[in-house]
């Protein structure tokens, strides 16, 4: 309800940007407060207000905030890196996962080697003693 009181006083960032009247059931108002004008500007530049509105209507109300945040993140990423956008970050993280998993496999192999080595030593020590 705090967001409602916000946009009764002043239009939301979206309506301000689009220079239109911010109606009471404005779909953007709860997620684009007037204090964050760049959030909507970025999203509008990359995806367009119409597409964002369509996406928000397709999503359940309790998930809209997450959807807006992810869209804002993607838009900002695309503006910073027009070629790869947020997909570049995914690629880097994916490579990091692969590298870590390879490292883990190698370390596990080392561990097995040590374990078998220590087990063998123990066995040989006692076996030799018994023999």
């Amino acid at each position: 309800m705090s967001s409602y009181s916000n946009y009764t006083n002043s239009p939301c960032a979206a309506c301000k940007f689009l220079r239109r009247k911010c109606i009471s059931d404005c779909v953007f108002a709860p997620y684009f407060p007037p204090e964050e004008p760049t959030k909507f500007a970025n999203v509008h530049r990359i995806f367009g207000a119409s597409n964002v509105s369509k996406i928000l209507h397709e999503v359940a109300p309790h998930q809209r905030e997450d959807a807006v945040n992810s869209l804002a993140y993607e838009a900002e990423a695309r503006l910073k890196d027009p070629v790869y956008g947020c997909v570049g970050a995914i690629s880097v993280l994916q490579r990091q996962v692969l590298r870590l998993q390879r490292e883990l496999e190698e370390t596990n192999a080392d561990l097995m080697r040590y374990a078998s080595c220590l087990g063998g030593e123990t066995m040989s020590a006692y076996g030799g003693r018994r023999g």
């Binding site: 993607e74 990423a77 220590l118």
Partner: protein, 354 residues
């Protein structure tokens, strides 16, 4: 004779004319890119696909869904605007990333690529924790091997003096002896008293717990301290042996993993609503890397795309990612775990004599 024939059959000539017209129209449409040869973008928008259509190379007519995804998220005007600012060499890469991003948004309308990023970060955290644990165990083995090498002769003399052939032979075989839970943890393993199986495992587990936290704190390994407190912890957690080697690091809620719990909480919170700022740190990292690597390894993203195909969902797939990513590792670790406990119990019994 022939003029009379044409005069007598005016309808037939008209039919022939229409046939020719129809054939020429079909040929024209096929060659010039009519509806049948139009790219998916032009087909979707029901417009003529020109020879220099900027979207035609990226949206083949056979894959209309690709364009629909992109159109729904970006819109044609935004794509063209993005492409206009780029060099010719960068355009295919940009289009691939746009198509991928739109595909992910189609699959996960709420979280989109941010969900994928979070999942990958979770996988990284998981692998790092696993690596920490395995490294700690490895260091333990290394120190044990050093101890074995240094004190093997002395140990053998000591053992001969003690005449504990029965106990050692049973330890060699990894067999448990009769249980006596009332024994204190500092009791030597080569005491004449019967030793419990759980107590054989205790030093290994306590040292693991200790070393793990030590590695987290100082980055170096120090030998385990056998206190009553650690003993109690181990006894209470003795049933959770599989957790030590299991994948689910979130299950570490005992006192021995306070540091890991902190990082666990961080991850939990980051899995909820992740701060966008932290994502952009990664992004800057990406852009830095991209300066050096113009030819981005997009094949990996395609691999990821295939993974996505298999997984079907992003929003609720954290568990799936966690379990499936380390499925082979988990099996391996479980197999190791059984041998480890036996070997460690044997080795520790030897080192504790020293």
């Amino acid at each position: 004779m022939s003029p009379t024939k044409t005069i007598h059959n005016p309808i037939g000539s008209i039919e022939r004319f229409f046939d020719l017209l129809l054939i020429s129209l079909i040929v024209f449409m096929t060659l010039k890119g009519g509806t049948s040869g139009a790219c998916a973008a032009c087909k979707y928008q029901r417009r003529r696909c020109a020879a220099d259509c900027p979207l035609a190379p990226y949206f083949p007519a056979e894959q209309p869904k690709l364009f629909q995804n992109v159109h729904r998220l970006f819109g044609v005007r935004s794509i063209v605007k993005i492409l206009e600012k780029l060099d010719e060499a960068q355009k295919p890469e940009a289009m691939k990333s746009i198509i991928f991003q739109s595909y992910v948004r189609d699959r996960s309308p709420v979280h989109g690529c941010l969900g994928v990023t979070q999942n990958l970060q979770y996988l990284i955290w998981l692998a790092e924790e696993e690596l920490k644990a395995v490294n700690a165990q490895l260091q333990l083995y290394r120190s044990q091997q050093n101890n074995n090498n240094n004190g093997q002769n002395q140990m053998m003399i000591h053992e001969l003096g003690e005449k504990q052939d029965d106990v050692t032979s049973q330890l060699d075989l990894g067999m448990g002896l009769t249980v006596n839970n009332n024994q204190s943890n500092v009791t030597p393993f080569f005491s004449p008293l019967p030793v419990s199986e759980t107590q054989q495992q205790q030093p290994q587990m306590s040292s693991y717990t200790y070393s793990c936290s030590e590695v987290n704190n100082s980055g170096c390994f120090s030998p385990p301290a056998y206190t009553d407190h650690s003993c109690k912890e181990i006894l209470t957690d003795n049933n959770n042996t599989s957790l030590v080697w299991g994948q689910n690091r979130f299950a570490y809620n005992n006192n021995g993993f306070s540091n890991q719990n902190e990082s666990c909480d961080e991850i939990k919170s980051s899995n909820g609503v992740m701060a966008i700022q932290s994502q952009l740190v990664n992004l800057q990292m990406v852009s830095n890397q991209q300066e050096g690597h113009d030819a981005h390894e997009y094949d990996e993203i395609h691999q990821f795309l295939e993974i996505i195909d298999e997984r079907q969902s992003f929003a609720d797939s954290k568990e799936a990612y966690g379990s499936s990513s380390g499925e082979s590792l988990k099996e391996q670790m479980d197999q190791i775990g059984e041998n480890e406990l036996r070997n460690a119990a044997n080795c520790f019994s030897l080192t504790s004599v020293n």
